[in-house]
Symmetry: C2
Subunit: 429 residues, 2 copies
Amino acid sequence: MNRMTAISPGAEAADPAALVTRLAEAARLAQRTLAAMPSAARAAALHLAADALRAATPAVLEANAKDLAAGKANGLSGAMLDRLALDDARIAGIADAVAAVADLPDPVGQVIDQSEQPNGLKFQRIRVPIGVIGIIYESRPNVTADATALCVRAGNAALLRGGSEAVHSNRAIHAALVEGLIQGGVPAEAVPLIPSQDRACVGAMLTASGLIDMIVPRGGKSLVARVQADARVPVLAHLDGINHTYIHHAADPAMAEAIAVNAKLRRTGICGSMETLLIDSAYPKAAALVAALIDAGCEVRGDGRAQALDRRVIPASANDWDTEYLDAIASVAVVDGLEDALAHIARHSSAHTDVIVTADEAAAERFLAEVDSAIVMHNASSQYADGGEFGLGAEIGIATGRLHARGPVALEGLTTYKWQVRGSGQTRP
Amino acid sequence: MNRMTAISPGAEAADPAALVTRLAEAARLAQRTLAAMPSAARAAALHLAADALRAATPAVLEANAKDLAAGKANGLSGAMLDRLALDDARIAGIADAVAAVADLPDPVGQVIDQSEQPNGLKFQRIRVPIGVIGIIYESRPNVTADATALCVRAGNAALLRGGSEAVHSNRAIHAALVEGLIQGGVPAEAVPLIPSQDRACVGAMLTASGLIDMIVPRGGKSLVARVQADARVPVLAHLDGINHTYIHHAADPAMAEAIAVNAKLRRTGICGSMETLLIDSAYPKAAALVAALIDAGCEVRGDGRAQALDRRVIPASANDWDTEYLDAIASVAVVDGLEDALAHIARHSSAHTDVIVTADEAAAERFLAEVDSAIVMHNASSQYADGGEFGLGAEIGIATGRLHARGPVALEGLTTYKWQVRGSGQTRP
């Protein structure tokens, strides 16, 4: 079955493609076991994994201390070190998240639709796991657990490839999870950790057509861009979250201000944060809106008309309309009506999340219909762009591509379907 | 809007990428018009297109005669010429198919699911068109009409790239359809015909990420393989239809014989035809089954045990188990029980359509659950693997990939979805 078993470990370390092939082939075999397990057994195994992770807290903290020391020595930024750092509470949170995914409803086996033809053939489309999913991620060690839990819950194998800066933390978390999963009957081969030292392993994963069914990159723009550029395997990813909030002339001023400030500043580093505020030229409280953003600590870069609203507004450059700041900076443009707002969004949106604030239902419905983004919102903050907030329980990511799954992708997005056809001897005339 | 308008026609002809870019950008703009049309208006426009095609029968026949003459001069095979040839009845059939697609239920705007969160946010997932779809096809001119109809019905623009051997036929069919579509309010730019003389246009389509949302190849294995190898745009495709029919020991002999002969011989050139017959070693009528296939005109290539069943069985080579004959040839293997059949299928199936014939419901259910193919059937001929037979009305193709859509892909597979979120001023805590 495994055409790589003849290769010695030494030769394999020198050949990342052979290593990835061996692990992916083993994962595919293990995935069959996983898919054949009853849903409750997969859930129970994930609870055991969560328990094992809780019990391994001291070992995980020790490993994490090594990564943090190496990160400091290597000059990682404070933000990077914060993403890397674990403590008792964070580990408990990671374990709780694994347990929460275990308790999510299982999409596998769901009947999507069914029909019967006049010739008596019965058709059912049922959800099945995708198969082998490659996860390529950066410094946050919680992804090791999140991705494992989501993949296993939906019956998928996961090839986990974390960042080298988190290598010890990822290994410790992975070892604990695997201990619990094995107790629960899930083969360890279903969730292999790919060595993070060798960057060539990423290239091997990206070109492993037929071995890996889908790649999910989790990390910064440069990682995702590399994955999208080089992958020969389908990728579920979003690049930018250049999200717009359009304040229509009929917006309630208090609501407009609360939504704009929340959308931009609640957390500036997440992909659902607002980057561009579009203010209708007929909106009566534009100056107060811009002042509120600036007073709340946001740098505002504006077009000519936005600069006229507040002398603290900095001139925007052409680039600003296509920039994901992920910081306390917003670009602000004044637009002439819904049509103009739709045109600006069509030109500059990254198709992640765009929002209209208005009391005019007809304008809202037109915006929701015509803005061609994964998520379109009326009278709500774009910071709600999150699988948990959508009631999906957890998400593997937010997809801005157009095929397979769009917006927050949770368990359903980690499944595909097959057609089951039941007959009684029909032959086709 | 269109950064290519400054290029002269001469320069553009020399630059296929510029031509494809210009046509795709114009198609994307036109697609917005199409998507904003009411469903009934898109249906009415397709009926006008079908009428215009019927009215253009003489012009289409004249164009087809040119292609046939060129094909004969260029030494096209009889099968290729047959695929290319049109007559009154075939043109009427093509027009009827366009009208039938016009009458299919429109998936666009369907609410997939909806929910409300405790904070009052309301979520709906609604189907929307994918956008711009590239169709790359070979000699059959009917694809020009089929693909146009399916794309337009679901609100998509279609970039049509037919084979050079059908250039005049495709142009004549396209001109007629566009005449009808324009009458119905569909912009001609939504369904451009890409020049078929220049092979570089195919390469330009395959790498047009961001301009083309999905490529559908329709044609032989070498075309599909080239598209899959070179595409940077998502591809909806199947390569082989290496379909198995497994005759379980508890199969009814009359049913087994009827299904095997129909699955192989009804039409040998379609992707749903059986290529490999697996006969259980405990099935009592194996010799009669093999004899029936051979007596019906099928060449049988078998493993040792199959050869022992009938002296007319030719020895199979290792390649035979992975070969799509598309001809009156079948490979036959004798297997030891369901487990062995599942293992053979897992090793050799192309994940298109696999069938079990048995009166044992438990064995059938296990086969339907464990065979990981797009279509799995119990007691029916694999020749039913067709969107029309599945009640989907028509199909753009049969997908053997795992993401987005699987098996027969019809209108629903030409849509994606977006999330509409309706609030009342919610900001995220």
